[in-house]
């Protein structure tokens, strides 16, 4: 058994974390650690499973991160507690149950920086707010630049970030090496690393715990979380929706808030409302559990891969979306293959790691790669969708902004630029590529 540094660059050191390896007392004298041993225990009960009431002031459709966070801020900021969150499956069981948990705010445009930075600030206090551990770890994100155009775009984005109060800096390859020693910064690879943008406050969080933390909090406040409750239709009265038809009966509502991500179009079709959303599979994967080798988050737009290491030790890697429309929660293998080729070139240390599992989530993409938040042609139906590949990081920020929009019947200033009618006015918020996102 070899002895390794915590952040070794030798491929031979990326050995699986086995009981035998732990017993050998490696990691330079630090005590052996059992994967997951440092994760907190769960309370016996997190939320109740109530029968739906006949009516609610606000019915939120979608019990993922966004729906739960919206309910939380309706309670906390606006004192609105007669709220139901309807979930067709189990709570936080869609994209919230499987995602790459990347949290950052280094977006190019002012509109995006405002809402994502608002969200990042909320993440920084979320554990205290929820009274529940979410393992938010601000380990920084590197967005690699591989071409001269990448470098120019990246420097431009850093300057824009700084003007918007977002922590960002441009760093040279030798600094990339210092921050993340396992990145291959040699010049003889297909996409050499010419530098990177760095946002130190970016991080990851334990996605399940985030969903559970919100759920526990709103359950305590009297919000009904209703699982296995699929919306099958809406009761309309002119420009209003007066009720929601579900597999668990009809529920009357004062206001409806849609937060259904990849399934948004299924709901809006029932309302006769067209939204510019295309649902695509987005694949990600994790490796077996490894010793800590990857201290930060690395994204590379050009080669379509982003990588971090989860608290338990899995390498978590995301790809770009599969090209075709899909609702099947799985994607094509050649997408994963291309992603792995890119990952192994950038991180030679990963070459011997084994794949543990892959999955596909259904993401709701828009023509300008920005979300849609705000009003609909119905007086009392509010829409939140179109977060595409980046919804997790927005969870608390969107919840805050969407709750404010619902409570005041007026788009929050951070939501206003993301209105549905921007596709008619032409005032798009084009974050394709500009966001440093692998779309």
């Amino acid at each position: 058994m070899t002895t390794v540094d915590a952040f070794s660059t030798d491929p031979a050191d990326a050995v699986p974390h086995t009981p035998a390896a732990a017993a050998a007392g490696r990691l330079n004298g630090t005590p052996p650690r059992t994967p997951g041993a440092d994760l907190p225990e769960h309370p016996d009960a997190l939320w109740k499973n109530p029968e739906p009431k006949k009516a609610y002031d606000v019915v939120i459709v979608g019990g993922g991160g966004h729906g739960l966070a919206t309910a939380h801020y309706l309670v906390k900021n606006h004192g609105i507690t007669n709220v139901a969150v309807l979930e067709k499956g189990w709570l936080a069981g869609g994209n919230m149950a499987r995602n790459t948990t990347l949290i950052r705010s280094n977006y190019l445009w002012d509109e995006s920086a405002a809402i994502y930075e608002h969200s990042l600030k909320l993440w920084e206090g979320l554990e205290e707010d929820l009274g529940y551990p979410i393992l938010f770890s601000q380990r920084g994100v590197l967005n690699l630049a591989h071409t001269l155009q990448d470098v120019r775009d990246s420097v431009r984005r850093v300057e824009a970030n700084v003007l918007n109060g977002v922590d960002a800096e441009w760093i040279e390859p030798d600094e990339v090496r210092k921050i993340c020693p396992i990145v291959n910064t040699s010049s003889d690879i297909r996409y050499p690393v010419l530098g990177a943008t760095y946002q130190p406050r970016a991080g990851i969080a334990k996605h399940d715990y985030v969903g559970w933390g919100f759920a526990r909090r709103i359950d305590e406040a009297g919000v009904d979380i209703i699982q296995n409750c699929e919306v099958t239709g809406f009761v309309r009265d002119g420009n209003r929706v007066t009720g929601v038809r579900t597999t668990r009966g009809d529920i009357a509502c004062g206001t409806v808030a849609l937060a259904a991500a990849g399934s948004t179009s299924v709901l809006t079709d029932m309302l006769g409302l067209r939204v510019p959303i295309q649902s695509h599979p987005l694949q990600a994967l994790v490796s077996e559990l490894l010793e800590p080798v990857h201290p930060t988050i690395v994204m590379s737009n050009a080669v379509h891969v982003y990588v971090s290491q989860a608290h338990k030790g899995e390498l978590v890697m995301g790809a770009g979306v599969d090209a075709y429309n899909g609702y099947g929660q799985r994607g094509a293998f050649h997408i994963i293959e291309r992603q792995m080729a890119a990952a192994v070139e950038l991180f030679p240390v990963f070459a011997r790691a084994h794949l543990l599992r892959t999955w596909g989530g259904i993401v709701d993409t828009t023509p300008d790669a920005s979300p849609i938040v705000g009003r609909t042609p119905y007086d009392n139906v509010f829409l939140n969708c179109g977060w595409g590949t980046g919804g997790f990081k927005a969870t608390p920020g969107l919840g805050w902004v969407f709750a404010d929009t619902i409570a005041n019947d007026e788009p929050h200033p951070y939501a206003a630029p993301f209105s549905l009618d921007r596709f008619v006015t032409g005032r798009l918020v084009d974050e394709h590529g500009a966001a440093a996102v692998a779309h």
């Binding site: 939204v275 090209a323 429309n325 899909g326 609702y327 094509a332 596709f423 008619v424």
Partner: protein
Amino acid sequence: MQMIKCPWCGPREEVEYHYGGQAHVAYPAEPAALSDEEWAHYLFFRDNTRGLFAERWVHTAGCRRWFNAVRDTVTYRFHATYRPDEPRPVTA
């Protein structure tokens, strides 16, 4: 890997193709007559069907010709492929 049947070349691997989104969206007969809203709908709004969906594909690495397909967006199974000048076939 999924095999897709090009109407001209026959079955080939999925990586030879590129996706083109919803099929049968005609260019407006009188573009200048459209309102901003109608133009927005032509430009940005497409069906996002859960189930059988008629869509465009191009055989990039083969004959480079466009064609249409009816594919199930839940199972991803192709039910039919057909030439652009043919009507959408009736599929189960």
